[in-house]
Symmetry: C2
Subunit: 198 residues, 2 copies
DNA sequence: CAGCTGACAGATTTCAATATCTGTCATTCC
DNA sequence: GGAATGACAGATATTGAAATCTGTCAGCTG
């Protein structure tokens, strides 16, 4: 099916793995399937990834990184810290909601993968909170967000908005009124960050 | 095993059901088990609950209501709205964390039950946000919390603190530093509620 | 010789036969 | 007569034997 003449690279294996996951789901996607899709023996896959778990972790990381990269643009964009904070949170919500809504099966698949890969998720969350920290630190510098510890504030904001980005709430993202709820939470948080009484 | 001479009541059945759930877990707890524990035939259980699902829902509701009742006390307690809000949120966290930590298996069991019983959970959440609304409305009346819509603010606060009461985060409640994270989120929210700039 | 293959052992999954459970109801018991 | 029983049909769960998969490695191939 895939051209078997190209050299076998980790990237090509990851590509094929994602395709196999999309087709078969997380429970039935096997290394043999991946090898078959690439027209090679499964032994060759093990040359690039020591175990099936490592392969799944790599493909998970790849998926999470795509989100991080998308959001990174907003961190350094124009606008006040307040605008960027709102834009960043809205983009995070929108991205996740889109992924969950467009291809629910693939999203469910990756949700399973993230559950079995605490490390990759931890790093992803660290990435995202680092981005948030930069925005809030900008606001701390300019006096918009008079917070003593931007990193702690970023963690708090990230956790408080979990309902709008954590996969465990995915099924509620299509309910009517979520957008109002999202706005209400973000407003409350921005107001909290902006409050000078510290 | 249980005295078979007492009259069979819905409450006794619920009691026995909780015990069977504790022993066997959500997957292997059967109506026959419950009947056996009560020393009656399973047909008798069906006289009080139309289906197994109804029985499980009733026992779930009972469990959730125990939490609601505990928290209701704080709503009408002494203290400023700010103090009561913090106390209420802390009690909610503490109660859940205790349940999860003391008897992890029973907690896991009830987590499964709540997942299959959207309705009971919805009502429970409605109960809790109503309690929160009363506290915030008090604050709105006294000027402590100058919010235009206490009910909306209550929903936002409840959702923003999900990480500290939603069972899907239970495994993180024993991590070091959660208390600081809880405090950070609550501080941010209280500051947001207290901010006069509306 | 670097990369790929395919046979292999042990672990895991599938599948179909078997057992148990759910929900009903005619009958029994007090 | 109201409450409980237990046999029953269809649905669901368990089990163990057979099939498949994971991870290794000695040897093949270009």
């Amino acid at each position: 099916m895939a051209p078997p003449t190209e050299t076998l690279t980790a990237e090509r294996i990851l590509e094929a793995t994602e395709e196999v996951l999309r087709r078969h789901g997380p429970a039935k996607a096997t290394v043999v399937d991946v090898a078959r899709a690439l027209g090679v023996s499964h032994g060759s896959v093990y040359r690039h990834f020591r175990t099936k778990a490592a392969l799944r972790e790599a493909v998970t990381k790849r998926w999470l990184d795509r989100t991080s990269e998308k959001l990174a643009v907003i961190v350094t964009a124009d606008g006040t810290p307040g605008e960027r904070l709102r834009a960043w949170l809205a983009a995070l919500f929108e991205t996740k909601r889109h992924k969950a809504g467009d291809d629910p099966e693939l999203f469910a698949t990756y949700t399973v993968l993230t559950e079995e890969n605490g490390t990759a998720v931890g790093e992803h969350i660290a990435d995202l909170t680092a981005q948030l920290t930069r925005i809030i630190a900008d606001g701390a510098g300019s006096g918009t967000f008079p917070v003593p510890d931007p990193a702690a504030a970023a963690r708090a904001v990230f956790q408080a908005t979990g309902r709008f980005h954590d996969p465990c709430y995915a099924r509620e993202w299509k309910a009517p009124g979520v957008d109002e709820e999202f706005t209400a939470v973000v407003d409350l948080l921005v107001r909290g960050l902006s409050s000078p009484s510290r």
